[in-house]
Amino acid sequence: MIPLSHYLIVSALLFAIGSAGVFLRRNLITILLSVEIMLNAVNLSFVAFGRAAGNVDGQIITFFVMTVAAAEAAVGLALVIALFRHRESLNPDAFTSLKW
């Protein structure tokens, strides 16, 4: 029997890796990928908590998180394409000015 805490530790590790990616990487696509890692870490803890509580609510919230992730990826990638057209760069530091 695997205890609930082990799933939560995996989730915590994944979340920390995702946040480290957002802090450290300087590539917009990798940053979006790191956000996806964080969302997945949250999903894992939702499903694990739901299983431990013995109901399906955890799984249902996962679907909403997935939908949000899909919307985020669509808008985020559209932004990345638009930004890349302007500066030929994917580095967030290239977009520090508010107007161009």
């Binding site: 609930l4 890796i17 790191s34 499903v47 996962t62 394409i81 890349f84 760069s89 994917l90």
Partner: protein, 177 residues
């Protein structure tokens, strides 16, 4: 015990693949390692009696969202990170400052594990309660999704519509406006 072994192998794959996602400069490889991580996570969902979530994870994340990422990586044919000279001279890029981010993330792990240690009742087996057959039934999932969570479901559809319109407007070339 095969179940325990399976959990640790999948957890290790998920964590290592995620580390590799942020640990390199080639965006293409990052996307591929993230797909591997998602595959491992979907295996973890199966160990949690959530086969529908596991399959949805593969279909939605690995099959659609990641293809979108790959598409953008290929479309931009993005240069390697840190290519520009102004970027290397940026004060934020000095070594040392970058490590603050890493240490903050490490701190986050310590904090989360510390918090987990203070909650009682986490040491029980995760599958101790509930009936596995009911929990993995798609019929039950659908019933609760379309009754108890009907409002959230409708709100999600509005979100998707907004995201779709936003993506079309943003990605359009300016000359067409």
């Amino acid at each position: 015990m095969p179940e325990t072994l399976l959990f640790y192998v999948l957890a290790a794959v998920a964590v290592v693949a995620s580390v590799l996602v942020i640990g390199q400069r080639n965006a293409m490889y990052s996307v591929l390692f993230l797909i591997a991580s998602f595959g491992a996570l979907s295996g973890l969902y199966i160990t949690l009696d959530a086969p529908f979530v596991a399959v949805a994870q593969i279909i939605i994340y690995a099959g659609a969202i990641m293809v979108l990422f790959l598409f953008v990586v290929m479309l931009l044919n993005a240069p390697q990170e840190d290519a520009a000279t102004w970027d290397r001279t940026n004060p934020l890029r000095r070594p040392g400052i970058g490590r603050i981010g890493a240490s903050l993330a490490g701190l986050l792990v310590v904090q989360l594990v510390w918090a987990l240690g203070r909650i009682a009742g986490l040491g029980e087996g995760v599958r101790a309660q509930g009936d596995a057959a009911t929990l993995s039934s798609v019929r039950e999932l659908g019933r609760i999704l379309f009754t108890d969570y009907a409002f959230a479901f409708e709100a999600t559809s509005a979100l998707i519509l907004v995201a779709m319109v936003g993506a079309v407007v943003l990605a359009r070339k300016e000359s067409e406006q």
